[in-house]
Amino acid sequence: MSGAVATAGAPSRPRRRASSQRGRAWALWGSYAALVVFVFVFLVPPFYMVATSLKSDADIAAEVGNPWLVHHPTLQNFIDLFMMPTFRGYFINSVMVTAVTVSVSMVISVLAAFGLTRLGFKGSAMLASSVFLTYLIPDSLLFIPLFQVVRALGLINNLWCLALLYPTLAVPFCTWIMIGYFSSIPKELDEVALIDGAGYLRMLWSIFIPVALPGIIAATIFAFTVSWGEFLYPIAYLYSSDQKVLTVGIAGDLIRGDVFQWGKIMAGCVVAAAPPIVIYAFLMDYYIAGLTAGATKG
């Protein structure tokens, strides 16, 4: 690698410096310009969703005029949504399931990643990578055979079956993040801990977890995103309103046969998107930092 770089041409230095400064300014403004374009494109659908959520049913049904503008803005859709007794329940269910899923996923993946990287056993390296293979079986296939398992556990139409199923979607990736992070921590640290006489669990708890906090936050956010947005398992296993989560509740309550209540569906999307946006806004730096440390290892 260094050889290749070394053979690259080397123009004279003084000229390079001046041009590189100008180049950097160009790069900066160019980057801003490009980002503006990207942000614009990325936000077109969310903008349209918000706009639709502010329209009345009659406005939407009429299909005249500029669809990008809200001619008679109204908050009626949001009001209706929150007046629906079921909707608040869905929201709370989503929050609870996500919280439990994230905790379960993190316990499983932190323990596993620690065991695999810092302690290890025969074949642990291979195992570490094959955990990823679980993604190969799509949930659109698994939900049929899984019904038996879920039923055997008595969790059909029970919100908490999701706390069991969602980790299968989150854990492999979280484990990978944590493996990367744990491997980036210098070996000397466990030696210090062992000399100290700490058991493995205490070593993990009091030394590694604090050090690996950014990685844990990164994995947590990933698990959160996955379990907040998942659609297929809840639709196959939850059917009574007191057990449903947000994604499925919105689709089920607002799409009635061949009647779509677009204004409210879009309002529901906006409400469903709000918690993750808030969480990302606050934890983004940790997320990136957590992924960064493990990035070269993995």
Partner: protein
């Protein structure tokens, strides 16, 4: 090893012997490691591996599930024109989406790292919006944009004097629409992964490369890419698998139409298995890509592990 620990737990011969044996066992690194991994094993064995084998068994039954037919279902599928179209469409959808996501994510990560880190937060936040809206809901929003009778995109085109495009009504535009939605949804994830990886590349490497006179692209290819190769591999692998399994986008946008030209594995499996009462055939459709993806994943992961070791050493 797992066997031995199980035996130790289940047999209560002599208390003292057992205790010391247990203690010795528990003090061994590998035993502890195994114990720590056991929740993971349990989870995957019970909720993925077991049902997966059951699904495989289902895929080998006849339509009424009264007879074992081996690989006949797969052979049957391969002979069908419609299913060949499904293979083509699935590969087109997954591969081009992932390539685009990866490319755009890479570009975005670089753009982002070009600007001062204090300013990055707002831009990152805005760019992450697609990734955080639950996909099943945001796809409904897209569908509403493409809507046949009142497409908001067509309104803009018409305003510019361009004729309406039947977005989801003709095979190629519909395919492009699906890829667009998927790229829109997933690019942010790539951006974040790459951005994190970029930060992990030591600044000295770039300085060294600069001293050696490397230009922007040379730095990218000889420093950045090799350094973040593992992240690229794992992100692409993850995304490829998940995109191959995608259900929501196609189901909501076209339900496989027009003329069954936009079905992917998951939607076709749903139509054949759930809607038309042929669960074994549906399971075969779902499992069709498994061997190919498994081999691909195996090699990617082997390389990742190997490189990971080199780095650690």
């Amino acid at each position: 090893m797992a066997d031995r620990s199980a035996v130790a737990v289940s047999l209560p011969p002599h208390r003292m012997v057992r205790r010391s044996f247990m203690r010795r066992l528990l003090e061994r690194r590998s035993t502890v490691a195994l114990l720590m991994c056991s929740p993971l094993f349990l989870l995957i064995a019970g909720l993925v591996v077991y049902p997966a084998f059951y699904a495989l068994y289902l895929a080998m039954l006849n339509r009424r599930m009264t007879q074992f037919v081996g690989l006949d279902n797969f052979a049957f599928l391969l002979k069908r024109d419609t299913f060949r179209l499904v293979i083509f469409q699935s590969c087109l959808f997954a591969v081009s989406s992932v390539v685009l996501k990866s490319f755009l994510g890479f570009v975005l990560a670089h753009l982002m790292s070009n600007i001062p880190s204090g300013r990055q937060r707002i831009w990152r936040g805005l760019l992450l919006v697609p990734w955080v809206i639950p996909l099943a809901l945001s796809t409904l929003g897209w569908w509403w944009l493409f809507d046949p009778s009142y497409s908001a995109f067509n309104y803009l085109l018409n305003a510019l004097g361009i004729a309406s495009v039947p977005w989801l009504g003709v095979a190629w535009p519909a395919r492009l629409c699906m890829i667009t939605v998927n790229v829109w949804f997933g690019t942010s994830f790539f951006m974040i992964m790459y951005l994190a990886a970029l930060k992990s590349v030591p600044e000295q490497l770039y300085e060294a490369a600069a001293i050696d006179g490397a230009g922007t692209f040379q730095k990218m290819f000889y420093v950045t890419v090799p350094m973040i190769r593992n992240v690229i591999s794992v992100t692409v692998l993850y995304s490829l698998i998940v995109t191959f399994a995608n259900f929501d986008i196609v189901r909501i946008l076209t339900n496989g139409g027009p003329e069954s030209k936009t079905h992917v594995f998951a939607t076709y499996a749903f139509q054949v298995g759930i809607q038309s009462g042929d669960i074994p055939l549906g399971a075969s459709v779902s499992l069709f890509m498994f061997p190919l993806l498994a081999v691909f994943a195996y090699f990617v992961l082997r390389n990742v592990t190997r490189r990971g070791k080199e780095m650690t050493v």
